[in-house]
Amino acid sequence: MGRGYMGRIMWVDLSSKKISYENIPDEVYEKFLSGYGLAAKILYERIPPGADPLGPDNIIAFMSGLLTGTGSVFTGRWMVCAKSPLTRGWGDANCGGDLSPAIKKAGVDGIFITGKSDKPVYLVVDDQKAELKDASNIWGKDCYETEDLIRRELGDEKAQFKIACIGPAGEKLSLIAGISNDKGRYAARSGLGAVMGSKKLKAIAVRGKAKIEPNNPDQVKDITRKFNKSLDRADFMMNLMGNRLFRIVGKMTRTGSTMMRQPGDLWRLILKKYGTMGITGMSAENGDSPVKNWAGAGFKDFPLDRSSKISDDALLKYEVKKYGCYSCPVRCGGIMEVKEGPYPLSESHKPEYETLCALGSLCLTDDVYLLMKMNDMINRGGIDSISVGGVIAFAIECYERGVLTKEDTGGLELKWGNGEAMLKLLEKIINRDGIGDVLADGVKRASERIGKGSEQWAIHAGGQELAMHDPKFDPGYGIAYECEPTPGRHTIASYTWQELMGIDRFFKDAEPLKMVSSKKDRLDPKVRMKNQVLNSKMMQIINGVGMCLFGMGCGPKTPIFEWLNAATGWNKTPEDYLVVAERIETLRHSFNVREGIKPKDFKMTGRARGEPPLEYGPHKGVTLRSEEAQRLFYEAFGWDPETGKPRKEVLEKLGLNEVIKDFYG
């Protein structure tokens, strides 16, 4: 009888070219699930403290999720974990696409790669057979060409192999390089493309025939059937009544000042029709999007009549087909074709909100053709669109302030809104050409090289560029940016995610989601901290099972725990799973502490905190209470707010004996 997971992992040593398998005991899955959890357990134990992230001792793990392929939906995420060369601590990134089920069908829950090859290689896993192949003829190619060449070499006309690869940015060890799957889905963050590049690993190509067996397949199917029905019902009601539904259902469910669940229904509609790019216009205006390298405000610097040019219908007209990740009923992605304008494109993934904001609102560019072209270049070149947008905005500010000159930029006039210059700069960054070499490792390192006070315009936390959600709009994002083991990330926890998920539907201990006032309460870290911590823990479960965060926040309550119990045969309560989540989070955090990272090291650049506060716009006069928030978050997890070290009794409760040994002897 199966348990949803495969019970073993693959090891590939690129130095010795040895490939082996390791069985994982059942109790490890019960304690850590799969995905980030299982990877954290293995990487904590086997990456030597202080290891060079770009050296042979770093281990990069390609993980599937525990629920992937079991018959559940929204559970097609694959993940990559390693020591991050960008933050020099725990690194992970998360991606949709089609790789996750392929890993499990190859009979493993994860592929762990260590060592360093002396020449470019790619890994082929064909069911039970795995081998390293020469990648000399692929090295230097972009991510689209790489997939095509590998398929040609493997005779894979039916595209059965699922491929993850790096582009030139990863090869050139850009610390903001990502890993591409299916020509444009990205495990972009933490700079893990550079880890692949350092190992001279161009790609992995995986297919298999293994059966993924849940413990109780009928029960899993039944839960899925009911959940799909609830999604259909919600769609039907929205079609019938549109937004009027919110008013009626809202009145039925509202008690006192309770925040209602229905934001998820609206979010699902936006995702289904537009994808995340649907919100670019309104986000620039309402204060969610950072504008002008975090120093401006949409209403003045990038108003709605400009931001709407790179949002919703302005892009939707180029979508020729919808794109959905494995097991997704929403399908928020899209494939674009652009026949008109200066930059024709075909078979190009639709830009996400993050990309449009990072290159648009942040740099004051509203040329939709340029942005679609740059999105395509990013997907081909293999670089993180959030970070590269952040570093371009930083370079523009340096230029506008005279810290960078035309001589430094190789003749580029890096002025706000000069999209043509941005496009040329992007090319230079991907290829580490001239000024691009200075910028290719992110804003923190670029400002260290440029100097002249530029560090105040380098917006990051712990070395990683912040995602495109201003924490002064939703302070929950700020807590995640500064407190989570991977800083600067938006797909973990926030007030928005609490509401979209309806976090108070899942746990007895949750506080009813209260409406917070837009000015005063919103900035008080105590107001939502309990649910912020629950949201953070929930994310550990979501990543352990390979679920999409959007799937958790699209209206009807997602039966994640019901699926887990049916797939594994466990009989755990949501509160039991919270202990698992706390273990995973504390272990990822401990990885950082062992590397010498202190809580203050993840402090956001002052401008993002509102230090000094902005003088106009929705965040005028707003300064976040970040220190207080970090202290409350750390205390909730039992971590010392000064040193970051988890308390011994917390580690004992969680059974993290390796960590106890490291920190307490």
Partner: protein, 93 residues
């Protein structure tokens, strides 16, 4: 009369509505009355402004770029040259 710039952005009736336009209204009317006026003159009976105010998460209202508490914003008096934005509060993606 007061000339004001109106911005409305968000999803309504399965369509993203991002509109910017100018409107002349009686000087000194309250924002709530302005929205009622706009529903009569601009939304062809669709009552977008009224419906935005009833979204599950309360909308963001900016007056001259500054965020205000909902009640406070609705009771504010409109004056010539004001810019009033009614926006969906979504912050995901």
């Amino acid at each position: 009369m007061a000339k004001v710039r109106i911005k409305i952005a968000g999803m309504i009736d399965r369509k993203m509505l991002n509109r910017v336009f100018d409107e002349e209204v009686k000087d000194g009317i309250r924002v709530k009355e302005l929205f009622e006026h706009l529903d009569r003159t601009q939304t062809k009976g669709q009552n977008y402004f009224k419906r935005f105010l009833k979204l599950p998460s309360p909308p963001v209202i900016l007056i001259n770029g500054e965020q205000m508490e909902l009640k406070e914003a609705l009771n504010s008096q409109v004056k010539d040259g004001d810019e009033i934005a009614l926006l969906m509060p979504m912050a995901g993606g």
